[in-house]
Amino acid sequence: MTIAETQATTSETGSGPIFDADEERFARAQRIEAIAKWVVPVVVLSLAIWWWDRIVVWNEIPHYILPGPGLVVQTLFEDRVTLFQSLLVTLQITLLALTVAILGGVGLAVLFTQSRFAEMSFSPFAVILQVTPIVSIAPLIFIYIESRMVGLLLCAWIVAFFPILANTTLGLKSADHNLRDLMSIYKASRWQRLRYLQLPSALPYFLGGLRIAGGLALIGAVVAEYVAGTGGIGTGLAYRILEAGYRLNIPRMFAALLLIALTGVVIFSITSLISHLALRNWHESALKRE
């Protein structure tokens, strides 16, 4: 603190700057928490991995039953060409499905809020699609749809679009009542109401749905590939896991699993970041409180 600042504090409080043991303890606690926020999860995760490694070594578990973390990473490196190609396929399906889910989910939500009849007619379909497990629909999809790619996309889309639809519909309907009255008083058109009031009100809800849908799109893509089996383009990560399983190549199964998990984490981080950037200026969920 500079002298000028110290003087300012003194004149404000009238009794000089207070910095006693209490204050110091509080400051230290805050510093510790700031560091712990990052250190604790990393340490615990490292410990868990170390524990996994020890269990394998101590019990002399053979690698075709449970490989140690070192072997998994080594396999990941050795098989990197095959695995990353498969990752690209899975990623492509996931992202395409998510994109279509966003367009379809938001589009349908807007349609639902604009027309009661559209909602009455189509929401049963949306719910039925949602509650029926994708593994049970997928075989039918691959019977009727020629292209594997389109089939996989459709499966991933069915799983991913519902949270976006449900959340966005809820958001569009929860615009502030007084603001809606204000729109009526100023004789706003339907389009203006949607554009200036309902869509911004729905944004936090939509982003919440997006975070769920991102993970679900990946799950949908992987599950669909399991069902689709080995025919056609079958080179996604799920296919690699199946294939490695048949060959009892357990380290590769783990390596592919690791890639899927990492992909999921990255997708979640990106959608969370988007959500934070879009809401940080105004929404309660993104504001820091003293």
Partner: protein, 266 residues
């Protein structure tokens, strides 16, 4: 805006703005919210609708705002209602949290298809009028309750509407902020010559602000007395502490009490 306050014609020869002619409002289920309410609103009037909860004062406001249709009777705008005839201030500030103060005030223009740059000067002029020119780029959450209310008032004023409706705008504010906003509202009214209908349940607020008080009673909601206050504007601390003020407040309060059934607890 002229340098001088706008002169408002004395009561009695002001041109008409709006008439409510024996308006009834019955809600589904048969609750009579309003019975035979008649009200002439003239240019420059500051009318308070004063009454206990359930007297239909907010219903009356919603009817005038066109948010509901009367069950019986008519509401006529002199010369028909234009697009910018109304400005409204609700009990909550009702701002859009996702955008800045200036862009909130822009809303009425935006809905008419006017770009921000074409009305920027007017927006800043109105923000200056309510004392918020420095907060044009702030988000509503950064403002205090009183400041949010000022933004809401600025938005209602920005199109220079023929009539401004205020539904208990200061009810949720603390007493000090409330008095300050009452003072500021009167000076705004003096500068703009606005016509205001003000809903309140505070006797003192209504006596301080208005030139006509409509005292209302509940079950069924109706106007039971009109009290005219001739005290000249601008009004300030002198009016608030004058014996006339006390006398009118007394009369208003007595009228209000007489509307409550004996033994009724509020």
């Amino acid at each position: 805006m002229t340098a001088h306050d706008r002169i408002v014609a004395p009561m009695g020869n002001r041109p008409a703005v709006l008439q409510m002619q024996s308006v009834d409002k019955t809600f589904n289920g048969g609750v009579v919210a309003l019975r035979k309410m008649s009200l002439n609103v003239n240019e420059g009037d500051f009318i308070s609708l004063l009454g206990p909860s359930g007297c239909g004062k907010s219903t009356a406001l919603r009817l005038i705002a066109g948010l509901m249709r009367p069950s019986l009777g008519r509401i006529n705008w002199e010369g028909g209602q234009g697009k910018d005839d109304l400005g409204v201030v609700f009990q909550e500030p009702t701002l859009m949290p996702w955008t800045t103060v200036a862009r909130n005030v822009w809303l009425p223009f935006r809905l008419r298809g006017q770009s921000y740059s074409s009305v920027k000067d007017r927006i800043h002029e109105v923000l200056a009028l309510v004392g918020l020119e420095k907060f044009a780029d702030s988000y509503p959450r950064e403002l205090s309750g009183g400041m949010k209310m000022r933004v809401s008032i600025a938005r209602a004023l920005v199109t220079n509407p023929r009539l401004i409706l205020m539904d208990e705008p200061f009810a949720a504010l603390d007493e000090i902020t409330r008095q300050k906003l009452n003072d500021d509202l009167l000076s705004l009214k003096a500068k703009t010559g606005a016509t205001v209908i003000f809903v309140t349940h505070s006797v003192f607020e209504s006596v301080f602000l208005s030139d006509r008080i409509m005292v209302m009673a509940a079950r069924p909601g109706r106007i039971i007395k009109e009290i005219k206050i001739d005290a000249p504007y601008p009004r300030g601390i002198d009016w608030r502490t004058s014996p006339e003020y006390a006398a009118v407040a007394r009369e208003t309060s007595d009228t209000l009490m007489s509307t409550l059934a004996p033994g009724e607890v509020h």
